[in-house]
C-alpha cells in the first residue's frame, strides 16, 4: 500500500468546522483489548501477529472496511512512520515500536485504528472544529462494527480492560486541539490552564503527552475514564472548552481594542519573516505560523485561508519536508526547504 495516497490530499479533519478559529480539531480515542490475550507490551511476536490478523479479518467484515488503508509498522521505514506521526495518525510510541504494530486509516484520515500500541486496539476518530459528539458517534460506530468480529476484554465492574489502569472503564480519551495565541499574548494562559487542570482535565502541548505547547497549540482532554458515561465525559469537556474559547475570544477582542498596534505588529512581523526568511527551524515556523493563523482569524490577512495555514502546520515537519523533496535532508537543508515552502505559499498573498 502506498503512502502517497495520503500525501496527495490533506486530512478531512482539517476542513472547516464549528468554532474553527480557536479550535483546530476534536478527537475521541477508544482503547480496546482482545479477550484472553496478553497485552502488546508483554506479548510475544506470535501474539502480535495473531492480533494483527484478527483485526485484518474484522476489517474485512465491516461496511467500508476495504477502503481503509493499512500498514504494519515493520513494512515502513523510519521516515514513513514519522510521516504518519506528523499527521497525528499514530503515536510516538507506535512509531518507535516497529515490531508488531500496525495502522488502519480511512481515506479521509478521520477514522483510524492503531494495532498493538499500548493496547491491542486504539481506535481514533478526528473531526474538524469543535465536534466531540460527532467524533464520539463515529468512533462508536466503528467500535460496534469491529466488535462483531472481535471479543473485547471487558469486566462488568471495571469496564473495558486496558494495559494501563488509567484508561480502564470507558477506555475513552476525548480531546480538543485549541489554538490560544490571544491568551498567550495577554499573558492569561496560566490561570486558564491551571483552572482546567484543577477540574480533572489534562492540558498538553501539540504532540500530546510530555510535549510543549509549540505554535500556541494546546490539547485539553479528560483524565478520568471510569465511573462516568462516555456522553458525560464529552459533555463536561465540551462545556469547559467552550469556556476556554470564550476567554480566548475575549483576549483577542481586548487586544484589538487596547493594543491594536501591538497586535498588528505581532501579525505583521510573523508574516514578514515567513514571507522573506531563507532559513527557518520548525520551532520558529510554528510560532510564526501561529501569528499568521491569528491574523487570518482577526480578518487581517483576507487572502489567506485558515485551512491552508493548518496544512502548513503539518507540512513543515521533517518527514513531510523530506518526503516532498524525495530524499533525506540534513537539518540545515530542511531549514532551507521549510523557508522555501512557506515563501512559495505566501507569494502574492
Amino acid at each position: 500500500m502506498n503512502l502517497n495516497t495520503l500525501l496527495e490530499r490533506h486530512g478531512g479533519w482539517l476542513e472547516s468546522g464549528p468554532e474553527e478559529g480557536p479550535v483546530v480539531s476534536s478527537r475521541v480515542r477508544l482503547a480496546r483489548n482482545l479477550h484472553d490475550t496478553t497485552f502488546p507490551g508483554w506479548a510475544s511476536k506470535e501474539v502480535h501477529d495473531r492480533v494483527w490478523n484478527e483485526v485484518v479479518l474484522a476489517f474485512d467484515h465491516i461496511q467500508d472496511g476495504e477502503d481503509f488503508l493499512h500498514w504494519r509498522m515493520d513494512e515502513l521505514d523510519s521516515l514513513e512512520r514519522e510521516l504518519l506521526f506528523e499527521r497525528h495518525l499514530i503515536s510516538a510510541e507506535l512509531a518507535e515500536r516497529k515490531v508488531g504494530g500496525g495502522l488502519f486509516v480511512s481515506p479521509d484520515e478521520c477514522r483510524g485504528v492503531m494495532v498493538n500500541e499500548e493496547d491491542h486496539i486504539r481506535l481514533q476518530s478526528l473531526q474538524p472544529g469543535l465536534k466531540l459528539q460527532k467524533a464520539w458517534e463515529e468512533a462508536e460506530r466503528l467500535d460496534d462494527e469491529l466488535e462483531q468480529s472481535l471479543t473485547y476484554a471487558f469486566s462488568s465492574k471495571l469496564g473495558y480492560l486496558t494495559a494501563c489502569p488509567s484508561n480502564v472503564g470507558t477506555g475513552m480519551r476525548a480531546s480538543v486541539m485549541l489554538h490560544l495565541p490571544g491568551l498567550i499574548l495577554t499573558e492569561e494562559i496560566n490561570p486558564v490552564v491551571n483552572a482546567v487542570s484543577k477540574i480533572g482535565l489534562t492540558v498538553r502541548g501539540l504532540w500530546g503527552e510530555g510535549s510543549e505547547a509549540s505554535g500556541h497549540m494546546f490539547q485539553i482532554s479528560n483524565q478520568i475514564t471510569l465511573g462516568k458515561t462516555e456522553l458525560e465525559i464529552i459533555s463536561t469537556l465540551d462545556q469547559i472548552v467552550l469556556e476556554v474559547i470564550e476567554h480566548e475570544k475575549n483576549a483577542r477582542l481586548r487586544l484589538m481594542e487596547t493594543q491594536k498596534l501591538r497586535l498588528h505588529d505581532h501579525i505583521g512581523r510573523a508574516y514578514g519573516i515567513l514571507a522573506h526568511a531563507a532559513l527557518m527551524s520548525s520551532g520558529e515556523a510554528l510560532d510564526l505560523l501561529s501569528g499568521l493563523r491569528l491574523g487570518v482569524d482577526m480578518g487581517l490577512l483576507p487572502k489567506i485561508k485558515r485551512q491552508d495555514v493548518d496544512q502548513l502546520f503539518i507540512r513543515i515537519h521533517p518527514a513531510h519536508l523530506q518526503r516532498e523533496a524525495g530524499e533525506a535532508l540534513s537539518p540545515e537543508e530542511r531549514d532551507v526547504r521549510r523557508a522555501q515552502l512557506i515563501r512559495n505559499f505566501l507569494e502574492g498573498k
Partner: protein, 165 residues
C-alpha cells in the same frame, strides 16, 4: 532550544503547572536522565500512583505473586505500571483497587457495554440480584415466593445461553 542546565540541544520539553504557574523545562538527554526522566516513557499518573503504593507493601507471600495466565510478576507490574493481560486485573486486584479509585474517584463502570457482552453481563447481574432475593425468601420461609424467583433465575439462565449462540 538549549538545555536549561548546559549548552546542548534539549530533547525533553516539559510543561508543568506548579502553584498556578505554567513552567516550561527544557533538558538535554544527559540532564533529563539525571532528573530521572526516561525519554521513551512519559511520566504518567499511573507511575506516580503505583509508586505511592510501594510504601504500603502487603504480606510477603503477596509480593511474589504473579499472574497465572500471562506470568507477569507483581514486581514487574509495579515497575512499569502496566498490566500483562486482562486477567492481571483479578490477580492484582488487591492493590489495583486502591490505585484505580485514586485515579478515577470511582470503582464501577457505567459506560458502554459491548453488544456481545451486553446480554450476558446484564443477565449475569440480574441473576446475582435474583439469587440474593431467593436467599432472603428462603430465610423468611416464603417458599411460594422462592419458587417464583427460582423460575425467574432459570429463565434468565436460558436467556444467557440464548445470548451466546
Amino acid at each position: 532550544m538549549k538545555c536549561d542546565v548546559c549548552e546542548k540541544e534539549a530533547v525533553v520539553h516539559l510543561t508543568q503547572v506548579l502553584d498556578g504557574e505554567m513552567k516550561e523545562v527544557h533538558l538535554c538527554e544527559k540532564h533529563a536522565k539525571a532528573q530521572g526522566i526516561d525519554i521513551n516513557s512519559p511520566i504518567s499518573i499511573t507511575d506516580i500512583l503505583m509508586g505511592l503504593g510501594e510504601a504500603k507493601q502487603g504480606i510477603a507471600s503477596e509480593l511474589s505473586l504473579s499472574c497465572p495466565r500471562c506470568g507477569m510478576a507483581r514486581e514487574e507490574f509495579r515497575k512499569t505500571g502496566r498490566l500483562g493481560c486482562p486477567d492481571c486485573y483479578n490477580t492484582f486486584m488487591a492493590e489495583l483497587a486502591a490505585a484505580v479509585k485514586a485515579m478515577h474517584h470511582a470503582n464501577q463502570h457505567i459506560g458502554k457495554i459491548p453488544a456481545r457482552e451486553g446480554v450476558q453481563t446484564r443477565v449475569k447481574s440480574k441473576i446475582a440480584r435474583l439469587k440474593k432475593d431467593l436467599d432472603a425468601a428462603i430465610a423468611r420461609e416464603d417458599y411460594e415466593k422462592a419458587a417464583g424467583i427460582r423460575d425467574q433465575i432459570n429463565a434468565a439462565r436460558d436467556q444467557a445461553q440464548g445470548g451466546e449462540s
